[in-house]
């Protein structure tokens, strides 16, 4: 089992990555939008122990942490976010559209569109009789899209190795999920697909890790799909530049004070008497990501003359 300390280390890297992106964004170095996962680190971190290289993970507009959890190279990912030729997609995709064939990782900017692609992988693994899993990430908002239903039904009917992770951060942009959800939880929908569903505290990496491990075992064992709903809070606006007027000052203050997965985990480690210098862990993560950012800054951007390349193979 992964120790809480290991989770902390993983979370520190995930946060530092997105903070480096934020830094660049606020210096005007990213053209276009940016969605960070800050506040949601425990979910990606909790997935790491159960992810195998052969598994496939398809994420959303808020995908950096999932990419890192899946083993995508941090430099290649950051270079893509900053639109460099050295990026995963040579700067063509941008932060919502990273593709890493080697890691079976991809994402989409269209809400709900991640799940069908993950299901395609699940079908492939099932056909091949491989004990791998296709994992689709969605937000709470995305779970209301029709594709959620279509995919879980198919996976349920044929017992495909398909796991849906719902990052329930309580909002789809400004719309509170509780205003637009027919049931108290998303996880309970699993019964409609003959699948198990677990709702866990997504600020607790151990809770996520346990539920995700259970879901992955279920899927790997050929028993069909599973849903893991992890509740969490998104610290930043929906995207950088979002006025975020839909959450009160108080709500945002409490969110950071009470629901920060790094702070919570740190308190637990300290309470358990862990002697490690946690500040050093944070500093090392920061330094790693700052180093990557520096490297990215020096790398070339795509040349306008190449704008028509790559549209067709032939």
């Amino acid at each position: 089992m992964t120790s809480l300390f290991e989770h902390f280390k993983a979370m520190a890297r995930l946060r530092a990555f997105d903070e480096a992106c934020l830094d660049g964004f606020h210096k005007g170095e990213i053209h276009g939008e940016l969605h960070t996962g800050i506040g949601q680190e425990a979910i990606a971190a909790g997935m790491i122990p159960s992810l195998e290289a052969g598994d496939a993970l398809v994420s959303t507009h808020r995908n950096h942490m999932h990419g890192l959890a899946k083993g995508v190279d941090a430099h290649a990912l950051m270079a893509e976010i900053f639109h460099r030729e050295t990026g995963l997609c040579r700067g063509r995709g941008g932060h919502m559209h990273p593709f890493d064939l080697g890691q079976n990782f991809s994402a989409t900017g269209i809400v709900g569109a991640s799940l069908p692609v993950a299901l395609g992988y699940a079908y492939a693994f099932w056909m091949e009789g491989r004990a791998n899993v296709g994992i689709g990430i969605t937000g709470d908002g995305g779970a209301n899209a029709g594709a959620f239903h279509e995919c879980l039904n198919i996976a349920g009917a044929w017992k495909l190795p398909f796991v849906v992770v719902v990052e329930n951060n309580a909002y789809a942009i400004s719309v509170p999920i509780r205003h637009v959800l027919a049931t108290p939880t998303i996880a309970e929908r699993a019964a409609a697909y003959g699948a198990p569903g677990w709702r866990v505290d997504g600020t607790d990496p151990e809770a996520v890790a346990e539920a995700f491990a259970r879901a992955m075992e279920h899927a790997r064992a050929g028993r069909g799909p599973a849903i893991v709903e992890a509740t969490c809070q998104r610290f930043q606006g929906h995207y950088e530049g979002d006025h975020d007027s839909y959450r009160s000052r108080d709500e945002k203050r409490r969110m950071k004070a009470e629901h920060d997965p790094l702070a919570i985990t740190r308190r637990k480690l300290v309470a358990a008497g862990d002697a490690t210098d946690l500040d050093a862990i944070l500093a090392a993560a920061k330094a790693e990501m700052a180093g990557i950012l520096e490297r990215v800054r020096g790398e070339p951007r795509p040349d306008a003359a190449d704008a028509l390349r790559y549209r067709f193979a032939s």
């Binding site: 053209h31 893509e80 559209h97 569109a113 029709g146 400004s174 719309v175 959800l181 951007r301």
Partner: protein, 337 residues
């Protein structure tokens, strides 16, 4: 109009004003869409409306576009005049079914016994969000029969065309340009003055926004401002460009275009949408059909060269028309003539 010259709204405010005026006038109008209520739209074009008209008439929807676009159809059948907001035009792929097979076809399929006074309001165009959040897609909507396709390009038209869309008995797709939503009215070269009162701009009428003798630039949406800027530059070089703002695709006002071409005999179509199988080809084809092939001395198109919009700024700039590239296209024509 006394207040007109002291108002400096941005385009999203102008649209919200238009919708508000129509909602006051007609209780059958309502707005369904993601984030349209509490925050008044991600681009602000419905700001303040939920407070004024309540959360039934201005409703924040879950991310279930197929359901709520179809709800628009049902509401229209039930006697309402729904505005359905699809946040970005790019997202229409999840609900096109209800747009083209239901909304657009029901009037005809019903033999005229049913009208579909429904507005699909969406934002197209590019502000740097790459391939899945930067598309115009007006060519796609226009290809599918049964809906009017309205694409304003300045504050005056944003307001007046929304009023017309909301009084039309036909389904209307109303496409804003993302980049214009936060742009102040007074910064526009055309249509900068927006009266506070209600007025309408007729659907299906193009506007000559700049007169010129040497060539006719036919365009719409944000490219109208780009073309006007290009025309100013060109004027300094002795090239006198006429600029036509189509203001929409369906119905397509070829009379205005052809009248201009009859004088200039040079056609440059500028379009931020993909070049092939869309608006720009249609303009060229109709001009040739209506004036005869020999009436035109030059024809050129300047549009996205059929690639997804790339993320990197330099690439993006290379594939989308802007003032400099439009001027360059016009210069190439001038050089050849």
């Amino acid at each position: 109009m006394a207040t007109a010259n002291i108002r400096n709204l941005n385009c999203s405010q102008v649209i919200a004003e238009a919708i508000g005026l129509e909602m006051e006038r007609d209780p059958r109008i309502l707005v369904l869409g993601e984030d349209v209520g509490r925050i008044g739209g991600v681009f602000g074009a419905t700001r303040g409306l939920q407070e004024r008209f309540g959360d039934k008439r201005v409703r924040d929807m879950p991310i279930s576009e197929m359901a709520f676009t179809g709800m628009g159809v049902g509401l229209a059948l039930a006697g309402y005049r729904p505005i359905i907001e699809i946040m970005f035009a790019d997202f229409v792929g999840v609900c096109l079914e209800q747009v083209y097979n239901a909304m657009a076809k029901i009037p005809y399929m019903s033999g005229g016994t049913v009208r579909m006074p429904m507005v699909v309001k969406t934002a197209g165009g590019c502000i740097g969000s790459a391939a899945q959040h930067s598309q115009c897609l007006w060519g796609l909507f226009a290809h599918l029969p049964g809906m009017k396709v309205v694409v304003p390009g300045n504050p005056y038209d944003y307001k007046g065309l929304m009023a017309s869309a909301l009084t039309s008995d036909d389904p209307v797709v109303y496409i804003e340009h993302q980049s214009q939503m936060g742009k102040k009215a007074t910064t526009f070269r055309a249509g900068a003055v927006v009266p506070a009162e209600r007025y309408t701009v007729p659907i299906g009428q193009a506007a000559v926004v700049r007169s010129g003798r040497d060539l006719t630039i036919v365009t719409l949406s944000a490219c109208v401002e780009h073309a006007l800027e290009a025309a100013e530059t060109l004027a300094g070089e002795g090239i006198d460009a006429e600029v036509i703002d189509l203001r929409g695709l369906v119905p397509l006002d070829m009379a205005t275009v052809c009248a201009s071409l009859a004088r200039t005999s040079r056609l440059l179509v500028v379009d931020e949408d993909y070049v092939s199988f869309g608006l720009s080809g249609e303009i060229v084809a109709r001009a040739v059909e209506e004036l005869g092939p020999t009436a035109l001395r030059q024809v050129a198109r300047h549009a996205n060269p059929d690639v997804p919009v790339p993320a990197a700024a330099a690439l993006e700039q290379a594939v989308l028309p802007g003032p400099a590239s439009i001027a360059a296209a016009a210069r190439r024509m001038a050089a050849r003539s």
